[in-house]
Subunit: 210 residues, 2 copies
């Protein structure tokens, strides 16, 4: 059966982005350190049309992360473009070729027409997390729905008991402050189902017991 | 060479004790959930003179945690007895047979004569973390010094660059609030050196690079 999954890089002290996030630095100060393990990996690079990089235990984790994903779900902040009504010129952080190769649904208080880009269409959902998940499930068919972030969106789905799998890539850095992942996330029952010890990062996959 | 080590059970959201810690409930609300994996294990039970319990991947971790420890270091809160001048009747949380089988040093602003109990002597150190570590090292000889907690003590040694090894037993529960381990701990360089995936807990050992 398809699952609602979420995989994120997180600092050992629990942040998925550093302090002082901005348009110029959406990952916040030090936030890039959470992603170096992926950016330097051959699998990630190949997925993004780049040569080179290392192959190690991270590679399979990276490959698995995009397999079987039939739709993505994300918060407004993850898609970017500020808090107010949409600027129609804003097409996400990623340029013309976003890294989502499946339909994507963006939670937003403000209406906007669907945005078709290469490999994906972003659909903007104004009527809450349940509606967004329903639409994403329908789009995903028998594949998984992946919650792409940010923290607040993951928290909402986790607290509502709608997340099935949480896959954390634990990076041994301390960011000290920033966007904290696991707050206001309720009291889920989590069961470790897979642990991968890569050279610099530890991948912990949990099933959420319902 | 001997190391300065620390091993602690921590919730997935980063707490080593739950909210509302008190004399009656020093682990705080939900804090006991962080230790059930150990309390139900045959190795922990044998160390504490109890029968029964399971043997699994946790058992070796528990056995390793007490091997080679020549002295313990802890904060005042970990030893208990309030914040003010010592009540000489307070002999720690553990009764007559504390679980420390080596000399133990307690950071405290208030002077107190050494306290001899079965298997250990608690020495109270009033002149700071460096002095306490020096005394613990001298007592440990060529064995390790283990920082027993609490969070603030670990943070001080980590931030001062005096910790060599951090061993976290990551328990998949969210406590939501309480005593957070990794705050004000500086920006240490951590290298994963061992990962043990037990049925319910994941043990992550990091070396601190100096």
């Amino acid at each position: 059966m398809h699952s609602v999954t979420c995989q994120l890089s997180v600092s050992l002290d629990g942040f998925i982005a550093g302090p002082n996030q901005s348009l110029e630095n959406p990952l916040g100060e030090g936030g890039m350190r959470l992603h170096e393990w992926a950016f330097s990996n051959a699998s990630w690079r190949a997925q993004h049309g780049l040569d080179g990089g290392e192959r190690n235990a991270d590679s399979e984790v990276i490959e698995e992360a995009t397999q079987g994903v039939g739709a993505y779900l994300m918060g407004r902040k993850m898609f970017g473009g500020g808090d107010g009504p949409w600027d129609e010129n804003w097409t996400g952080w990623w340029g013309d070729e976003p890294p989502y190769h499946a339909p994507a649904f963006v939670l937003s208080r403000h209406p906007r027409e669907p945005l078709r880009l290469q490999g994906t269409t972003f659909t903007f959902v104004n009527d809450g997390i349940h509606s967004a998940l329903e639409q994403a499930r329908a789009a995903a068919g028998d594949q998984d729905v992946a919650i792409a972030g940010g923290a607040k969106t993951v928290q909402q789905y986790l607290a509502a008991g709608l997340l099935d799998e949480l896959h954390l890539h634990v990076v041994p850095v301390l960011l000290g402050s920033g966007e904290r992942l696991l707050v206001d996330a309720g009291n889920p029952m989590l069961q470790p189902v897979q642990v991968v010890a890569a050279p610099t990062v530890t991948h912990l996959k949990y099933r959420v017991l319902h």
